[in-house]
Subunit: 215 residues, 4 copies
């Protein structure tokens, strides 16, 4: 693997700072986590976006959150066809092996993936329609929701579709038998959030009123 390069010095330095502080201060806990295994209370499904780190927003300590991050925080429908399904594997492991108590889907404002989906569905991004576009095909998961935001003014569609991405992911989660079972047995609760990056506002889906509302 001569392709691999040494780690850039700034990442070495960051790591060394972490080792000498966070690790040194919590060595006993890290060793217990290593020896006894993880026991996270919640799984979070969030976007890869560099501006939304749920580890920061929820003050994630070691061992607390099992975190899957993908483009636009999407979950595809249940499809046990033998292919690679990274998101489904993460969900399966969290619910059936780790038995997390909460599963939280976190969307966010200014999501590049959602904007790409909107552009694609409205004919402005033909390159995303190609079979070879991994982003385009991945965003197909969100395509069924496009009709729900079609009547909104153009400037509000992206933010609305970002929230639909959270809802459709939770709908898809409920197509997984092991999720539905865990929810029915009250062993798992599902939660939907949307974060406004610029304002720092977190909205949660309010099932009583059927809308997202600021926390």
């Amino acid at each position: 693997m001569t392709t691999i390069r040494p780690l850039p010095a700034y990442l070495v330095q960051r790591y060394q700072g972490w080792k000498a502080t966070t690790y040194a201060d919590n060595q006993a806990w890290f060793r217990r986590l290593a020896n006894e295994g993880q026991r996270p209370r919640a799984m979070v499904i969030a976007c890869c976006d560099s501006r939304v780190h749920v580890t920061s927003i929820f003050g994630a300590e070691q061992g607390e959150f099992f975190i899957h991050r993908n483009i636009a925080n999407l979950v595809p429908p249940y499809a046990p066809d033998g292919d690679y399904h990274g998101t489904s594997a993460a969900v399966e492991y969290a619910v059936t092996a780790l038995k997390v108590a909460h599963l939280v889907v976190v969307g966010h404002s200014q999501c590049g993936g959602v904007q790409g989906c909107l552009d694609m569905c409205q004919g402005r991004a033909p390159e995303l329609e190609k079979k070879t576009s991994f982003v385009g095909r991945w965003m197909d998961i969100l395509r069924p929701a496009i009709d729900k935001i079609a009547d909104l003014p153009a400037e509000r569609q992206a933010a609305a579709l970002e929230r639909e991405a959270v809802l459709i992911s939770i709908e898809n989660l409920m197509t997984f038998p092991f999720i539905r079972d865990a929810v029915d047995r009250h062993e798992l609760t599902l939660h939907g959030l949307w974060m406004d990056i610029g304002e720092g506002e977190l909205e949660a889906w309010d099932p009583d009123h059927g809308r997202f509302a600021a926390i």
Copy 2:
């Protein structure tokens, strides 16, 4: 979506603490990131494991790292077949749209996914062989590496396979045309790491000596 429940109070409280401190102290920066978009320097592919948060290890600030997390930090081979490929979509977006300068794959000790792969390949986990096992099928990505660790003493096989998971992911990354092109044009460098959770040691693949070595 009556399935969705309100956010547990402990997460509300964590968020409110973040809003009153991290957000309040950095409001101007968050607004700029929202208005001007992200420009992360690196993409990190790491495991969902709750004990290994690269955001902590590398002191990730808002806007710095585009992070994909899946089971066992795996990247499947290039396969533009029109299906959902979350990992491939994340990599495509990071390299072609965001033009990250570094792509870092981070493996770790005590990886449940890798242990499952080992158990499966050695006949101890028949349930993972089923077509309906998302974890089993996802870990098939690592299966080609199983021969490389077969001759090691049993107690060293898991840690060796964890490192192979990093290497096979980077090999698979190089099967993506846009990755190979970016590497060839010196616009992207690839890096492979492995973290020992209990000891806090970070190893990097050393291309000169062909092995992982402590930083």
Copy 3:
């Protein structure tokens, strides 16, 4: 310009080492920074002193900090009189053009400029009182603070005046209309620090208690 001499070999060697390592490892990022421009999150105003490199203390990577360094980290009051004002120009560029989110003034122990000011104000450095002394005239910025430390024991006066240099600079910063506006609009926050060189201790001004306190 026959006055100019070739670069000393030790600096050539240092540069060549940097080129072969830091630059080589981060070429893609340097090119992006060159093509797309800088977007620093913070401006730092620090002393020229060779013992206090904020680039080291804050692990400054390329693109992160806009740094002005002058004698005793001083900012003069707002005075748009058409003369050369290097510090005011740096602050104006950082706040109005680059729109930094934070402006941090960093003082330090054993500051030669502050000691000179103390000596001058207490009659021990008549050469600094001369109109032709650039250092003396520059340190006049700090002169209004001398009364605040006059009652302290002699051996504590210099360290106290170093901290006053930070405070008076921030007071002066607030006389610039564009700074006051940015602070009022929550687009900019001001911060005051003092570093003990020998002990490596960093103190920050605590607005709640009205004093510098160790971080």
Copy 4:
């Protein structure tokens, strides 16, 4: 000073990493530097730009370089008029008090200050002509050099003017009596550099051939 805010957490974290590593590893040297004072070998005059840290390029260790950074690495002519002259004070302190052996002026590509000067002189930036523009008045230092680049193709003018900024600063340095004396006594040498950010190339003024040439 209720205007001052606590230091953002990410800077606290960066500092703590430095304290636990760089400081801890070099405590004895920091204490000697604190007790015995600095003895830098060279003064560097560089730009505030966040992409050009001479501390990185020259691997600046504690105590080695006395560093002044301002917009466009400019030095105004000698003018002992009793006003605040931050750059002149820094130069005076370095040469007469610290007796540095080398004085290095470092310019760079994509310099926002130089571009502003070019725009101003060519009528494209009337706001910089105002008496109240600190950046405009500061860039007046470079105005005498504008004729030297006027005949070049437009796309080459900025880079040429960046190099002229280095030369005019060194010319101005030679108008300071204490500099000329130190140079004449062979106690000080002057050096002019220009860094290409994207390519990592460092050019030095070659007095034999009267041009900048790659090192």
